[in-house]
Each structure stands twice: as structure tokens, then as C-alpha cells.
């Protein structure tokens, strides 16, 4: 005897696809669609400007531009420094803030404040504080350290992009720090206590127990921070030099020129930007899988 199987109703089978459709539509149409449209434009297909011929010319143009490599390097330098410095300071801050001491709750609350604050506000504050006639310079003068605005180090619109990096770090240190803090809290003190009974000193516990435990979380915040810093537009535009600038600024400048024919070049730079972040993402997934399998 064979038993008749009851069919799963169509509604039931389509439930999950239907639930996913709206969000996927947004990302596929707007985001991936935008990327594809951008890719076509960068390849010279831009009917609005009368261009319909596919070509790599715009990429060659973009890369051959003396500004491109300098911008790429500047962007990398800023993103890498911000990521590295933010991580170091954030891990340090998290290790302090996870302890309970008088004022620790308040300090943790204050530590969170930069998170929801827009980057433009961070830039605004950095200008007020670090301009050569800013508050820090005035405090320096009151303490007799600075005689005139010109004596205060010029860290805005500077070659080293220190003002840019300060703005980013003001936002990113709390971000990384709170992620690390959350990991530390979920790990609890037990692994350290265990290591201690096995003879590990304070230093050894930090190096051999704590850091390996928080590493996976730290690496994933690295990727987010790096990608974000890499692609941010307004901070380097506001606080950096106009040359050398960063890739997003350069891409947007080319893109916004009045003549539509310069758009493909801007788009080509933007696509390079996107490709770098995608490569970063893939590298990260590989790394994550590798560290999980060994």
C-alpha cells in the first residue's frame, strides 16, 4: 500500500521567498542595479551623453591620471592608519572599561556618545578644537605653550591628513571598543581565571588568552572600519587637502563636472573603489573560514 502524500500548500512553500523579496528587491535593484549601471557607464556605455561604445579607455584615463595613484595611496594610508590606531586604542579602552570601578558606568556611557553622532559633527568639532586658532591652541596660549596661532601645529588641511584621521578615530574608536567590550563581557572572566590557576601571569593572560578570544570580532570590525573610512567622502573633502585627496572625492569631482562626458572617468574611479572593497570582503571571508578550519 502506498500512502498518499499531502501536498505542502503553495502559500507555505512560498512563505520564505515572499518574506525575503522586498528587502532583496531593494538591494538588488537599487544597490546592485546601481553598481551595474555604474559599471556600464565606466565602460563607456552612456547614451545620455551620446556614448554607446564599450571601451576600457576611461579606466586607462583614470589610472593614467597622475592624481589617481596619489589619491589611491592617500586613501589607503588614511584608512589603514585609522583602522590600526582605532583598534589599538579601542582594545585598550575596552580592557579598562570592562572593569568595575567608581565612575566606570559614566565613562562607558560617555564612551558611547560618538556612535550615533554624524561624521560631519565630528569634523565640525575637530575644526573648532584643532584649528590653529581653535580652542586647544587658545588653551595652549593660556598655558604659555603657544604664542601665536601659527605656532600651533597645522593638522587640518595638512599633508599627513591628521585632522581627517582624528575625525574618523573619534567615531571609530568607540565603535570598535564597544564591540570588543561586548565580546569581553560575553566571554566572562573564567578563561582568564582558568589560565591564572595554570600559572599564566597577567601579561601571558592578555597575550595568550584574551587577545586570541577577541581577535575574530576585532577582525570583522576592521573590515567595516576600513571599508567605511576608505569610502567616506565628506571628511577628507572638509579637512584634507584638495590635492592629494582621496579616491571618493576624486571620483565625485570628475562625476560632478558640468560636461557629462567626464562622467565615465569618475564612474571608473568609483568602480575601482567598489572593487577594492569587494576584494577586501572576499579576503575577509577567506580569512574567517581559514581561521575557523584550523
Amino acid at each position: 500500500m502506498t500512502l498518499e502524500r499531502r501536498q505542502t500548500p503553495l502559500r507555505e512553500r512560498l512563505k520564505i521567498p515572499l518574506m525575503l523579496t522586498p528587502a532583496l528587491a531593494v538591494i538588488l535593484l537599487l544597490f546592485l542595479g546601481g553598481l551595474v549601471a555604474g559599471l556600464m557607464q565606466s565602460l563607456g556605455y552612456f547614451p545620455a551623453a551620446g556614448l554607446t561604445e564599450f571601451t576600457f579607455r576611461h579606466y586607462v584615463d583614470a589610472v593614467a591620471d597622475r592624481n589617481f595613484l596619489v589619491s589611491l595611496w592617500t586613501t589607503f594610508r588614511i584608512a589603514f592608519s585609522v583602522t590600526l590606531l582605532s583598534t589599538v586604542f579601542a582594545v585598550g579602552a575596552a580592557l579598562v572599561l570592562r572593569q568595575r570601578f567608581p565612575g566606570s558606568r559614566l565613562a562607558t556611557f560617555l564612551f558611547q556618545i560618538p556612535l550615533p553622532v554624524p561624521h560631519l559633527v565630528a569634523a565640525s568639532a575637530v575644526i573648532l578644537l584643532f584649528a590653529q586658532s581653535g580652542l586647544l591652541s587658545r588653551i595652549g596660549a593660556a598655558l604659555g605653550l603657544v604664542d601665536a596661532p601659527g605656532d600651533f601645529p597645522a593638522i587640518l588641511y595638512d599633508n599627513a591628513s591628521i585632522g581627517v584621521m582624528l575625525s574618523f578615530m573619534w567615531k571609530e574608536i568607540p565603535f570598535v571598543g564597544l564591540v570588543v567590550l561586548a565580546i569581553l563581557q560575553s566571554v566572562g572572566p573564567q578563561y582568564e581565571e582558568l589560565a591564572q590557576t595554570l600559572g599564566a601571569t597577567k601579561r601571558q593572560r592578555l597575550v595568550h588568552v584574551l587577545l586570541p578570544l577577541i581577535m575574530p570580532g576585532v577582525v570583522s570590525t576592521w573590515i567595516i572600519v576600513f571599508a567605511f573610512t576608505f569610502a567616506n567622502f565628506e571628511i577628507p573633502l572638509l579637512l584634507g587637502r584638495s590635492f592629494p585627496t582621496t579616491l571618493p572625492v576624486q571620483a565625485f569631482r570628475e562625476f560632478q563636472r558640468p560636461e557629462l562626458t567626464s562622467r565615465p572617468k569618475g564612474m571608473a574611479i568609483a568602480i575601482v573603489l567598489a572593487v577594492i572593497t569587494v576584494l577586501l570582503l572576499i579576503a575577509y571571508r577567506r580569512l574567517a573560514r581559514y581561521s575557523r578550519s584550523t
Binding site: Y191, L194, Q196, T197, G199, H208, P212, L213, M215
Partner: protein, 354 residues
């Protein structure tokens, strides 16, 4: 080979004492169970021995020397946690070798000792695996190996078997016991399970509410518990209050003659107890210490019939032969042989407080 002394050991959190004035001597190579319900201060005691918690009062001595000022990492008291806590980023071998690496031992020596210890816990060939690839029992054995490989002065185990299923628990008991004996290591383990304490420990130290209640060999807790609270923790259910006058205790169900082997409680209010398997039921008065009782229920248990009887104001359990059939309401006499009666201090006030 280290003996451990806990002298007036206490730890307070504000006004509340988690552990109060605890005195205990543990001989070298002995295995002692710290037994008690959860929250009785046994884990706090363990943490004070390791140095993870600082005693508020008293001292911890290893071989007669105070170790209170010795930091945990130099104390040589290894703690095995309930949640095996294998370092997730390390392999099994790296986990086991952790303590040796911390001590700065050479790679070859570490590998040799780790391999030896893995063999000891029957995990040869598992060295390259990661923690999440092991079963719960294997993880616990790795945790044990990791603790033992450093040759600790004292081995401390916090509910080591609590996270394992019943079968595994038995195997692990044997393994822990045999390794501990072979290495002659002093061991203290914490448990809330009296059966585990009885099967594993040389001696048991029972704690209630931060205070040591009774210390002794496992059988003493069954045969000669000090108080009704201790007896009921060891699953005894038969308690009959009465008043002692020398060798006679008068109870609500009648007078009982007691032997000379009972505790010297002195005259006054006491509690009489006897284990269910030492009692007999009879339908005639006049047997030894026969007290009239009413059957409330009888459950066939295979090897015996468990009979619940109303004895004065209390309910007693009696193990009758499996062939016995009794019905609720039957009038019987419970006979309490003199040599099996045990007299307890009346701690009903303390019991109510719990």
C-alpha cells in the same frame, strides 16, 4: 604531595558571609568532596584555595605555609571548571600544553608531556583537534589533562561532572579517581550531588549556608548524621521528634529503647531516625520497639515495596519485602531495632530557616 589546611576561613560580601569560619584539614593525597546545595559557599571556598577570591578572615595553608599572599598563578592550585572551558582558539594539544608553555618549558618537553597526559586520559591522537570537534566527555578529559600536566600541588574541581550525561558521569568518575590515586595528588571537588560525593571522595565536608556541618567518611553521613538537616540531605525521610531520658526516648507514638551506640546528645528534645531498609512491619504489637502506624500508600518497586506510614504526626518510609501487599488505612506496627536507631540533635529551627 601537599596537605591543605583551611583555618578560620571566611569570606564576606558586605554583611553577608558566603563562607564563615571554616576549618578543614586535608591530608596529602586525599580526595575530599565539598558537598552542599547551590549557594552554600562551596565554590567560594574553592576560589579562596586557588587565590581567585581573597579570604576576608583566616588562612589557607599548603604544607603548613600560608599561601594567601601568593598570587594564583604561582600557587600551583589548578581549578577545573564545570564548563570545561577549553580555549577555543587552540588545539587539544595546545590546550593541554598551556600551563607548561606559560612556565616557559621547551617545545619538545611540552610535546612529550602532553602526549603522555593525553594517553593517560585515553585521548591519544586527538592532539590536533579543536575543542568544538570533541564531545562533552572528551572536552572534560582534555580539561583534566590540562590541569594535571602541570603537576599541581592541589587539584580543585568545580562540579566536574555536572554537564555530562549519566553514563559518561560514571566513566569520568572512575577516570578521575584512578588518575588522582595514581598521581597521589591532593584533590578537592565541589558537588551538590551526594551520590557523587559518596562514590568519589575519601571524605566529605558538608556545607550549609556557608558553614561546615559535618566532616567524615561517606558512610558516616548515612549511618550517623549529626542533624536532621544533614540526614535529609542524604535522602533520609524518617524523623520522629521526642524527648530523651537516658536510654529511652518518648515520642508521640510511644516510648523507644535506644542502644548505647547512639550519639551523646544528652537529655531533652531530640529527633529519632532510622533508614527505611532497617525497619520491619508487623501486624502484631510487642515486637522490638514496635510503634503503631497507619499505611498511607504502598508502591511496588521491584526489589522491594516502599511503604509510607503515618507514625504519630510524621510520615515514615519503610522498605518491606516485595511480596507484601498493603492497602491505605491498614493498621501496622513499625519495628525499630535498637541497633539501627540513630538520634539527632533537634535542629528543626535551623531547618525552617532554609
Amino acid at each position: 604531595m601537599t596537605d591543605v589546611s583551611l583555618v578560620h576561613l571566611g569570606r564576606a560580601f558586605g554583611d553577608k558571609w558566603a563562607v564563615k569560619d571554616l576549618n578543614l584539614e586535608i591530608a596529602s593525597g586525599e580526595m575530599v568532596a565539598l558537598l552542599g546545595p547551590s549557594g552554600c559557599g562551596k565554590t567560594t571556598t574553592l576560589r579562596m584555595i586557588t587565590g581567585l577570591a581573597r579570604p576576608t578572615t583566616g588562612d589557607v595553608l599548603f604544607d603548613g605555609s600560608s599561601v594567601v599572599e601568593v598570587p594564583t598563578e604561582r600557587r600551583g592550585a589548578v581549578l577545573i571548571f564545570q564548563q570545561h572551558l577549553l580555549f577555543p582558539t587552540m588545539t587539544v594539544a595546545q590546550n593541554v600544553g598551556f600551563g607548561l608553555k606559560m612556565a616557559g618549558m621547551g617545545k619538545d618537553e611540552i610535546n612529550r608531556r602532553v602526549e603522555e597526559m593525553l594517553e593517560r586520559v585515553e585521548l591519544s591522537g586527538f592532539g590536533t583537534r579543536k575543542a568544538h570537534q570533541l564531545s562533552g566527555g572528551q572536552q572534560q578529559r582534555v580539561a583534566l589533562a590540562r590541569g594535571l600536566v602541570t603537576h599541581p600541588k592541589v587539584l580543585l574541581l568545580d562540579e566536574p561532572l555536572a554537564n555530562l550525561d549519566a553514563n559518561l558521569r560514571i566513566t569520568m568518575r572512575h577516570l578521575i579517581r584512578s588518575i588522582q590515586r595514581d598521581l597521589g595528588i591532593t584533590a578537592i571537588f565541589v558537588t551538590h550531588d551526594q551520590e557523587e560525593a559518596v562514590m568519589l571522595a575519601d571524605r566529605i565536608a558538608l556545607m550549609f549556608d556557608g558553614t561546615l556541618q559535618q566532616v567524615g567518611r561517606p558512610d558516616e553521613f548515612y549511618r550517623h548524621p549529626r542533624t536532621a538537616g544533614i540526614a535529609s540531605f542524604f535522602r533520609s525521610q524518617n524523623f520522629l521528634p521526642g524527648t530523651r531520658h537516658g536510654d529511652v526516648v518518648s515520642t508521640g507514638a510511644g516510648d523507644l529503647a535506644v542502644g548505647h551506640n547512639v550519639a551523646d546528645t544528652g537529655d531533652g528534645p531530640v529527633v529519632v531516625t532510622a533508614r527505611p531498609e532497617t525497619l520491619t512491619l508487623s501486624n502484631r504489637a510487642g515486637g522490638e520497639n514496635g510503634l503503631p502506624a497507619t499505611v498511607t500508600s504502598a508502591i511496588y518497586m521491584g526489589t522491594h515495596t516502599q511503604v509510607f506510614v503515618q507514625l504519630a504526626e510524621t510520615t515514615w518510609t519503610v522498605h518491606a519485602p516485595p511480596s507484601v501487599t498493603l492497602n491505605p488505612g491498614d493498621q501496622v506496627f513499625v519495628e525499630l531495632p535498637k541497633e539501627h536507631i540513630w538520634i539527632l540533635e533537634d535542629d528543626s529551627a535551623a531547618q525552617d530557616g532554609r
